[in-house]
Symmetry: C2
Subunit: 115 residues, 2 copies
C-alpha cells in the first residue's frame, strides 16, 4: 500500500451484501422494470430490454427460483400470455441492491472519482 485510506472494510461489506441473483445486469434491468409496474408480460419485457426469448427465460427462471418474481401463465381468449410480477421478497432484494450500490457510489463521490 502506498497510502492507507480508512474504511475499506465498508467496501468488503458492500460487495458481500450484493446478491448475484439481483446484481447480474440483465436481472437488474428486469427488476427495475418489474418494481416500477404492477406486472408486465413476457413480450413487453423482452422488447423493452431488447433480449432474446431464451435469454429472458433463463434470467426469469433464476429470479423465480429465488422467489423474487412470480410467473402467471394464463389464456386470454385463445392467446397464451405470461405475466411477471415482482414479489415482496423481490422488491426487498432490489431495495437492498440499491442500498449497496448507493454506498459504493457515495464512496466514489467522496473520492471525486464519480462522473
Amino acid at each position: 500500500m502506498t497510502r492507507e485510506l480508512p474504511g475499506f472494510e465498508a467496501v468488503a461489506d458492500s460487495i458481500r451484501a450484493l446478491d448475484d441473483t439481483v446484481h447480474q445486469r440483465v436481472r437488474l434491468g428486469i427488476l427495475t422494470v418489474l418494481t416500477e409496474t404492477r406486472r408486465a408480460d413476457f413480450g413487453f419485457l423482452r422488447d423493452t430490454l431488447e433480449l432474446t426469448d431464451g435469454n429472458l427465460s433463463r434470467h426469469l427462471q433464476v429470479l423465480e427460483g429465488s422467489g423474487y418474481i412470480a410467473v402467471d401463465k394464463v389464456f386470454e381468449g385463445r392467446r397464451p400470455r405470461t405475466w411477471l410480477r415482482a414479489t415482496d421478497a423481490g422488491r426487498a432484494a432490489f431495495a437492498r441492491e440499491l442500498r449497496c450500490l448507493r454506498a459504493l457510489l457515495d464512496r466514489a463521490d467522496d473520492q471525486g472519482r464519480s462522473p
Copy 2:
C-alpha cells in the same frame, strides 16, 4: 402492461452499457479499492475484500485480460510481492460503470423506491 411509464428504453441502455468485467461484484470491489489507491499489493486486496487467494487471482486475471489493471511482480529483498494498479482504461471503465449505476439509482429515486 397495466400502465406504460415512459423511458424504459433508458433501462435497456443502462443494462446494455454495463460491462460484466467491471460489474461483477468482486471485481467492482477490486476496482473500488484500486481506483482509490495508486497501487495495492495482493495480500492487502485479499485481506481487505476478505477473499481467498484463488478467488482474488481469478478475478485479477479477468481484469488484467481486459487491460483494466496492471500486475507487477517484484522481489523486495528476498520477498516476492505482487503489486496491482488500475490502468487508465480501468479507471475509465469504472467511471462508466458508476455512470450506469447512477442512472439506475436516479430512476429508482424518481419512483420513490430507493431507500
